[in-house]
């Protein structure tokens, strides 16, 4: 039985207001301003492997975080929490193990939970990477009008909410790729064509908006023909 935990919604922030002024560029920024950020980066990459999971599952493990955990400790903070989610899902570590160890490193004397019996997903990709060769014909072609579907599935998706329900034009046919919505939950690869779709900003946003073009690369399952 596959347990699908919902995304909190905080990651899907495209088009939202309330996040303040645009950031200031720091030309002298270092890659990892704090040492733990580099360690968290590397631990997260390795945790995908250790937990028998994959990049899409990792993204969803971050998207499950509430706003506080997603935002407050920055990008590598959510990487670390996401990695912990993967390791907890596969019972590589026990709930409370990280907290107990942290307390002990800090000089405490806390009993740590025993190492659980691991339960990694019974699932493996058919090849490395995300691109696949497929025989299925392309459902859409360059220049065709398509609508981004309205999705209400609780699990992982890469269909941004600000595109949903809106009509655009296929600009590029991209290589076929595995579908994150099912791959993230260890259900199936569902390799399919991907299309970069062009939306007019006035189609995306009802009120007066800046005039620009929004291009985004969407999986075939996210799209339906529009007249």
């Amino acid at each position: 039985m596959i347990e699908i935990q919902p995304a909190s919604g905080v990651a899907d922030m495209g088009g939202d207001s309330g996040w303040g002024r645009a950031p200031i560029i720091d030309p002298d920024e270092v890659v990892f301003p704090e040492k733990w950020e580099g360690r968290a980066f590397a631990l997260a990459l390795l945790s995908m492997r250790v937990s028998g999971s994959n990049l899409d599952a990792f993204r969803h493990a971050m998207n499950r975080l509430d706003r506080e955990h997603y935002i407050d400790d920055g990008y590598y903070g959510r990487w670390l929490y996401g990695a912990e989610n993967l390791l907890l899902d596969s019972a590589i570590i026990a709930p409370g193990a990280v907290e107990a160890r942290a307390a002990n490193i800090a000089g405490g004397h806390v009993e740590e939970p025993p190492v659980p019996e691991s339960s990694k997903p019974d699932y493996a990709p058919t090849a490395g990477g995300s691109i696949r060769q497929i025989d299925a014909p392309r459902k859409f072609s360059v220049g065709q009008r398509v609508r981004a579907k309205t999705m209400n599935a609780p699990g992982h998706t890469r269909l941004q909410k600000y595109t949903q329900g809106h009509v655009g034009t296929v600009a590029i046919v991209e290589p076929a790729q595995i579908l994150p919505d099912t791959h993230a939950h260890f259900i199936a690869e569902n390799a399919q064509w991907v299309y970069t779709v062009s939306f007019d900003s006035r189609e995306l946003y009802q009120e007066n908006t800046e005039n620009f073009t929004l291009n985004t690369d969407l999986y075939e399952d996210y799209l339906e023909a529009a007249s």
Partner: protein
């Protein structure tokens, strides 16, 4: 809500990271030397200097530029740049008429083999949320005022395609060598929030 988010007493992140590293290393699940290698790779070896080489070559070699725009992944591999987050690269060219700018609203997807790991501004929620709604305003706030008749195209990564901006070559650089040109190219210009100046 997620399993990993109960404790209201926040553990400092350096301590939390060290705790997880200990738990995995002591069971032989993670090799700290492999961690060191990952960190060093993105601190020292893979960064915007790669992308700058691609841009400078495109500015000086019209045939390479055409290949780059037709098949970004293949042309970039000619220079030896590939790897994680570079499975399929699409290069978009800035001009006086069209300005391209890249974002990943859902996380912070970024062409690692060309630019390294993303900078803080790229990961900032204000950038992620607003550049797909009011890009001209966001770019101006970040110091790039575009002429009103320049069209803007925003590229938001959803799949594993990674977008990379070929900036405009600045005027007055006709005599510069490829290496001298590469030294002018900034990370921010290759994402589309800045222009290259001589």
């Amino acid at each position: 809500m997620s399993k990993a988010q109960p404790s209201s007493d926040r553990i400092p992140m350096n301590l939390r990271t060290e705790a997880l590293e200990q738990l995995l290393v002591e069971r032989g699940l993670v090799d700290p030397q492999v961690m060191d290698t990952f960190i060093k790779t993105y601190e020292k070896d893979v960064g915007p200097l790669n992308g700058a080489q691609v841009v400078a070559k495109a500015w000086t070699d019209p045939e390479f530029k055409q290949r780059l725009l037709d098949d970004g992944t293949g042309a970039i591999a000619e220079l030896g740049f590939k790897g994680p987050q570079g499975e399929h690269l699409v290069v978009v060219e800035n001009s006086a008429e069209v300005h391209n700018v890249v974002v990943c609203t859902l996380c912070s997807c970024y062409p690692w083999p060309l630019l390294g790991l993303p900078p803080a501004w790229y990961k900032d929620p204000a950038y992620r949320s607003r550049v797909v709604r009011e890009p001209r305003t966001v770019l101006a706030e970040m110091g790039l005022e575009l002429p009103t008749d320049t069209e803007i195209t925003v590229w938001d990564s959803s799949s594993e395609v990674r977008f990379f901006v070929l900036p405009q070559r600045p005027p007055g650089t006709e005599k510069l060598s490829e290496a001298e040109l590469a030294a002018l190219v900034t990370r921010d210009a290759m994402v589309g929030v800045a222009q290259v100046s001589a």
